[in-house]
Symmetry: C2
Subunit: 137 residues, 2 copies
DNA sequence: GCAAACCCTACTAAATCGATAGGATTAATA
DNA sequence: TATTAATCCTATCGATTTAGTAGGGTTTGC
């Protein structure tokens, strides 16, 4: 299941991208427009800023803005920041690999093989979808 | 993330399929062979039996067996029984659909569109993989 | 200097996960 | 028929994660 954090984060990014300008967008505005609890959204946008996807401006007329062109912000990056590993099991994760404690041999593990296929097909979708694509729908 | 329940369930099914016979396989045997806590595995196999994927025989020399040929047991079915919805959000789930409380309009929701793509590509993998495929690896 | 915005830490209620415990029931067999 | 070995079933539990909330601190524009 996709966490609310990720879902809200994607909606917020789309919201910002859709304004189409470099003027910072305020948290309150996004929260209202997308029906997201403001305080929760604050922490999500903070995560996205720390990851380098968003920039921020403090004080009056402050807010958040995109640090790259929407077409250059890929879902692989966004999903990894918000949701963590794309793979369904750590033992097939490219960026967050971890060995299973059960399972002495990955090569003979049927789950491993299946989950590699799922990972690759999901990755294909995320790799080929940018924030620009999201915001144009 | 894939739950341990699902992971263990898949391994157990693979184990049973690999015996290649109709003789019931005991829980203890599977637990030992796949390094799964026996009591936990018991409850998982019970779930699979109630879903009609496994059959069971009680008493001495009892155990679990497949109710269909491995080639007819598809990952779509197994995953839905063990893990629940294949979709990452309920609003794009085919078998467990639910409307989002935020999000007034699904058609204009960027998350919705993205998750439909992910669902379809994952579904494609599960639809084309049977227990026979798993057990032959 | 004050109001409006982001920044940061800590806390919490609820749900889920990964088991474990303890026995009830059933079936083969000696 | 008694024993034993297996599945069946319910309940409980500690740890973790999730989805927030609370309460300010800090910075900036006017």
């Amino acid at each position: 299941m996709l966490s609310k954090k990720t879902k809200y984060g994607l909606k917020a990014l789309t919201f910002i991208a859709r304004t189409g300008s470099d003027v910072p967008v305020q948290v309150g505005e996004i929260a209202k427009g997308e029906h997201i609890p403001q305080k929760f959204l604050e922490s999500i946008l903070l995560t996205l800023r720390k990851a380098g996807i968003l920039g921020s401006k403090k004080g009056k007329h402050g807010g958040y803005y995109l640090r790259k062109d929407p077409s250059e912000i890929l879902m692989t990056e966004v999903m990894r920041v918000l949701e963590g590993p794309i793979a369904m099991v750590p033992c097939v994760s490219l960026n967050f690999y971890e060995k299973c404690d059960d399972c002495p041999d990955e090569d003979s593990c049927s789950v491993n093989k299946l989950m590699i296929q799922v990972r690759d097909s999901t990755l294909e979708v995320f790799k080929n979808t940018s924030l620009k694509d999201l915001s144009e729908r």
